[in-house]
C-alpha cells in the first residue's frame, strides 16, 4: 500500500517534472549508498559523525552570516557582494581587540603589532595564548568589537555608497557592491599584510573525546562556543522578529513581497535597523569562525561568500529561518560530500547543490518572498 503510493506519486513526479524527479532519485541513491558504506564499514561511523559535526559548525556559521545577507537582499533588493568582506572586517576588528586585551595592552608585545594582529609575523596568537578558556575576556571583547565595528562599517558604507543610488536597479547596486568588496578586501590586505596567520593557541583549547560506536569523536570548547553563540543569537533574533514591532515590520517587508510593494520603499529607519542587525550578526559570525578555525586572512570572507549565497538562495531570499536551514544544508553538503567526491571538490559540490536548487526551485526551500 505505502510502497504503491510512493510508486504512483513518483511516477506522477517523473511525468510532471523529470528534472526534479531525477534529482530526487539521485538524492535517494546517495543516501542509500551512504547507509551501505556505513553498514559495511567503508566509512567508519565515528568518522561520519566527525563529518556531521564539521558540517554543523560550518552550517551554523553560514546561517548566522547568511541572515544579514538575506535581510539586505530582500529589503534593499540587491545581492551584496561586499558581504563576505564584512565578515573579514568583523574578524579583523574583533581580533585587534582580542590581541590587545590578550597582549596586556602592550605589556606582552608591541602595541602596534597587537593592533595589526601581528602583521609581518611580529606576534602570534599562540604566543598570547588566545582561546575561549585561556583568555575569555579578550574573546568577549573581540565578539563585541566585531559586532560594533561591522555595524558602524555597514552604516558608513550604506550612507556613503548605497544610499545615494538607492533608487537604481538591483544590478547597479550589485556592481557597486563589488567595488565596495574590492576596497574593503584589499585595504585589509594593505594594512594588515596579506599573510595567513594563526590567531588562537590550539594547546589552550580544552577538548574531550566521546566514544561513538567504532571510534572517538573529539569536541573542543571552540566548537561548543560557535554552537552556543550561533544558537543564542538566532534565538535572540527569533524573539526580536516575533515579539517587537520593529521585528514585525521587518518580517512583513522581507516575507511578503506584495505587502512590501504596497508599503512602497522601506523607510530609512527600517533600512538602518536591517544593516545594524545584519552586520552585527555577520561581524560576530566572522569572528567566531576565526576563533573556531584558528586562522585569519584577508580573503577569508570572500571565499565564504559563495557558500553563504548558496545558503541564502537555498533557504529563500528574505527568509531568516530559511538562511539558517540553508546554511546547515550547505555546511553539511560540503563536509558529507567528501564521502563521494575528492576533498578539493567539497566546495564545488556545495555550489552544484545551489545551482541545482536555483534551477529546480528558484524561490528556495522556504519559498520566502523574493524581490525581483
Amino acid at each position: 500500500m505505502g510502497v504503491n503510493d510512493t510508486y504512483s506519486r513518483g511516477r506522477e513526479l517523473l511525468i510532471a517534472d523529470p528534472v526534479r524527479a531525477a534529482l530526487v532519485l539521485a538524492l535517494v541513491v546517495l543516501l542509500l549508498d551512504l547507509v551501505r558504506q556505513l553498514v559495511f564499514g567503508q566509512v567508519p561511523v565515528s568518522q561520519f559523525v566527525v563529518l556531521l559535526k564539521d558540517g554543523l559548525m560550518r552550517g551554523l556559521f553560514f546561517g548566522l552570516a547568511g541572515i544579514g545577507l538575506s535581510m539586505t537582499y530582500s529589503i534593499l533588493n540587491f545581492a551584496n557582494f561586499a558581504h563576505g568582506d564584512f565578515i573579514t572586517s568583523g574578524a579583523f576588528s574583533g581580533m585587534i581587540v582580542t590581541y590587545i586585551i590578550a597582549g596586556g595592552f602592550g605589556a606582552e608585545a608591541d602595541i602596534g603589532s597587537l593592533a595589526l594582529v601581528g602583521a609581518g609575523g611580529s606576534v602570534f596568537g599562540a604566543q598570547l595564548g588566545i582561546g575561549v578558556a585561556s583568555t575569555p575576556l579578550a574573546v568577549l571583547g573581540g565578539v563585541i568589537a566585531a559586532a560594533l565595528f561591522t555595524i558602524l562599517l555597514s552604516l558608513f558604507i550604506d550612507r556613503t555608497v548605497f544610499e545615494p543610488i538607492r533608487d537604481r536597479s538591483g544590478i547597479t547596486l550589485l556592481i557597486t557592491s563589488i567595488g565596495v568588496a574590492f576596497v574593503l578586501r584589499y585595504l585589509i590586505a594593505f594594512i594588515f599584510d596579506p599573510s595567513r596567520r594563526g590567531v588562537t593557541d590550539s594547546n589552550a583549547v580544552p577538548s574531550t573525546d566521546i566514544l561513538v560506536y567504532d571510534g572517538f569523536v573529539s569536541v573542543d570548547l571552540h566548537e561548543v562556543s560557535l554552537l552556543v553563540v550561533s544558537v543564542l543569537l538566532m534565538l535572540g533574533l527569533h524573539l526580536l522578529l516575533q515579539r517587537t514591532k520593529l521585528g514585525k515590520a521587518m518580517r512583513a517587508m522581507s516575507d511578503n513581497e506584495d505587502l512590501a510593494r504596497i508599503t512602497g520603499i522601506p523607510t530609512e529607519r527600517v533600512i538602518r535597523y536591517t544593516w545594524i542587525i545584519g552586520a552585527g550578526l555577520t561581524g560576530v559570525a566572522g569572528y567566531m569562525f576565526v576563533i573556531w578555525n584558528g586562522t585569519l586572512h584577508w580573503f577569508q570572507g570572500w571565499i565564504l561568500l559563495l557558500p553563504i549565497f548558496a545558503a541564502v538562495i537555498l533557504g529563500g531570499i528574505g527568509s531568516v529561518y530559511g538562511a539558517i536551514v540553508g546554511g546547515l544544508v550547505i555546511g553539511l553538503t560540503m563536509s558529507v560530500s567528501i564521502v563521494w567526491v575528492p576533498t578539493g571538490l567539497a566546495r564545488a559540490s556545495a555550489f552544484l547543490v545551489m545551482i541545482l536548487m536555483l534551477l529546480v526551485r528558484p524561490s528556495g526551500i522556504f519559498s520566502g518572498g523574493s524581490t525581483a
Binding site: 563589488i178 584589499y186 555550489f351 545551489m354
Partner: protein, 466 residues
C-alpha cells in the same frame, strides 16, 4: 551605426552612399581608438624617456602595454556581447577563459606515452592551431551547458550561478585527482595545484608554419644589435610580435562584434536586453537568441583566455580567481556597456592606467629611491604621526601598490556607478542595423510602389502632426 548617424549622407546612391557613410563613421571611431592607444603609448614612452629607460626597457614596456590593452579590450568586447547587448549578467568570465586555455594546453602539449617523471604531464600533441580551435569550441560548449538551464533565471541569480561555475572550474583544475590520468594511452592531466607547463611557443610556431622562423631570428639579431637591445634580443622581439598578433585578433574581435551589433541578430539581442517579454510578443524565440549569444561570447572569452595565458609559460589555478572577471567588468563599465568602441577604449584605459599604471609607478619609485620600505603598516604610520614624516608611508604605499591598486579599482567602480554608469562615451546611438536607417529615397519618390489600400491616408504626409 554610431553617434553621428544622422548626418550620414545617403542621398545620391543608396548603396554607395550608405557604404561611404559607414566607412566614414568607422574611420571616426577607429581614429578615436587609435588616438587613445597612441596617446597611452606616448605617455609611457615619455615617462620612460624622462626616467632614462634603456631601449630594451622601453620596448619591453611597449610590448607589455600592447599585451594588456589587447587582452583586456578583447575580453571587454566579449563581455559586452553578453551584458551590453543581451543583458546577460555573466560574472564567470574567468571560468570560460580557463576552459579555453586548459583545453588548448592539454591538446597541444607534447605527448607522453610512457609514465612521465613526477611533476611533468603530457598532452595530446596536436598542432597549436588545432588546439586553439579546440579550446574555443570547448569554451563555447561549456557556455552552452551553463546557459541551457540557467538562462531562464533572473539576472542576479544568473550572476551567482556564473561566478559559482567559474569557481567550480577552478576547483576542478586544482583537484589532485585530475592532476594526472591516462586517456587512450596518453598521460595527460590538469596539473592540480602546480598547474601545467606550456611547452609551446605561439610566436615560434606561427613563424615556423609561415617558414619565417630563421629569417626572423636573423633579423632579431641584427635589429637587436642596431637598437642596442643587449644580448639575446629575441624575447624582446617575440613579445612585440605577440603584441602585433594580439592587435590582429583585437581588430578581428572588433569587426566581428560590430557586425553582430549592427545586424538583425544584434537588434534582437538589444531588444532582449530592454524587455524580453515584449520581444517574445513580437514572435522572437528569445531563448534561442540568448543561448547563441551566450555561447558565442563564451567562445570569444575562451579565445581571450588562450591569448592571455598561452605566452605565460605555465598556467596555475591561482591565476583563475574571480578577480580577473571583475577586472574585465571594470574595463567594460569604464568604456560603457553596449558600445563596441567603448569596450575597446575601456579595455585600453583599464590596462594602461588601472592595471599597469601603478606597477609602472612602483618600478619608477623603486629604481629612483634607494631606501627600503618598512615592513608593516604600523611602522609606516608611526613616523607619520610622531614626526609628521610622510616618507616611510609613501614608500610603504609604493611597496604594497599591488594591494592598493585594487582598492583604487574598487573606488573607480563605485565612482562610475554613482556618476557615470553609462561609461565614458556616454549614451551612444549605435543603431542595430546593417544599413543606415535614414529614409530611403525610393519610398518617397515612387509612391506607386505602395499599394493604395491604406484608407486614403497620405503616405508621406507625416510632418503635419503635433
Amino acid at each position: 551605426m554610431s553617434g553621428t548617424n544622422d548626418d550620414a549622407d545617403g542621398k545620391d546612391d543608396p548603396v554607395g552612399g550608405v557604404r561611404a557613410a559607414a566607412e566614414q563613421l568607422w574611420e571616426e571611431d577607429a581614429v578615436k581608438l587609435l588616438g587613445l592607444i597612441l596617446g597611452i603609448f606616448a605617455l609611457y614612452l615619455v615617462g620612460g624617456a624622462l626616467l632614462d629607460f634603456g631601449a630594451r626597457q622601453q620596448v619591453n614596456l611597449l610590448a607589455n602595454l600592447f599585451f594588456y590593452i589587447g587582452v583586456f579590450a578583447m575580453l571587454a568586447l566579449a563581455l559586452n556581447l553578453h551584458w551590453g547587448y543581451t543583458g546577460l549578467f555573466n560574472i564567470g568570465v574567468i571560468g570560460f577563459m580557463a576552459i579555453g586555455i586548459y583545453t588548448t594546453a592539454v591538446l597541444a602539449k607534447e605527448p607522453a606515452l610512457t609514465e612521465p617523471a613526477a611533476g611533468s604531464i603530457g598532452g595530446f600533441g596536436l598542432p597549436l592551431w588545432l588546439a586553439i580551435i579546440g579550446g574555443v569550441l570547448a569554451a563555447a560548449a561549456f557556455g552552452g551547458l551553463v546557459a541551457l538551464p540557467a538562462l531562464r533565471l533572473r539576472a542576479d541569480y544568473f550572476a551567482i550561478v556564473t561566478v559559482g561555475v567559474s569557481e567550480i572550474v577552478r576547483f576542478t583544475v586544482l583537484e589532485s585527482d585530475f592532476q594526472k590520468m591516462q586517456i587512450a594511452g596518453y598521460f595527460v592531466g590538469l596539473g592540480g595545484g602546480s598547474g601545467l607547463i606550456l611547452d609551446f611557443d605561439p610566436t615560434d610556431d606561427l613563424l615556423e608554419a609561415l617558414g619565417l622562423l630563421e629569417p626572423y631570428t636573423a633579423f632579431t639579431e641584427s635589429a637587436g644589435a642596431a637598437l642596442s637591445l643587449g644580448s639575446n634580443p629575441k624575447p624582446v622581439f617575440d613579445s612585440l610580435l605577440y603584441g602585433l598578433i594580439l592587435l590582429v585578433f583585437l581588430i578581428g574581435f572588433y569587426v566581428l562584434l560590430r557586425r553582430v551589433g549592427n545586424s538583425p541578430f544584434g537588434r534582437v539581442l538589444k531588444a532582449i536586453r530592454e524587455d524580453e517579454e515584449a520581444t517574445q510578443s513580437l514572435g522572437k524565440n528569445t531563448r534561442r537568441f540568448k543561448i547563441t549569444a551566450f555561447m558565442f561570447g563564451c567562445a570569444l572569452m575562451g579565445l581571450g583566455g588562450i591569448l592571455f595565458f598561452a605566452v605565460q609559460g605555465a598556467i596555475t589555478p591561482s591565476a583563475f580567481r574571480p578577480r580577473l572577471t571583475f577586472f574585465v567588468w571594470i574595463a567594460l563599465i569604464i568604456g560603457g556597456a553596449g558600445s563596441t568602441t567603448g569596450s575597446v577604449m575601456g579595455g585600453a584605459i583599464f590596462a594602461a592606467f588601472l592595471f599597469r599604471g601603478p606597477l609602472f609607478i612602483k618600478n619608477v619609485v623603486q629604481q629612483n629611491v634607494d631606501s627600503d620600505a618598512v615592513d608593516t603598516f604600523g611602522q609606516a604610520v608611526s613616523p607619520l604621526i610622531s614626526g609628521l614624516d610622510p616618507f616611510p608611508m609613501l614608500l610603504f604605499i609604493t611597496d604594497n601598490l599591488q594591494q592598493l591598486q585594487l582598492v583604487i579599482m574598487g573606488l573607480v567602480l563605485i565612482y562610475l556607478m554613482h556618476n557615470r554608469p553609462e561609461g565614458m562615451l556616454g549614451h551612444r546611438k549605435e543603431e542595430a542595423s546593417t544599413i543606415s536607417l535614414n529614409r530611403p529615397e525610393r519610398s518617397t519618390d515612387s509612391p506607386g510602389a505602395t499599394p493604395a489600400t491604406d484608407g486614403g491616408e497620405p503616405v508621406d504626409g507625416g510632418d503635419t502632426d503635433e
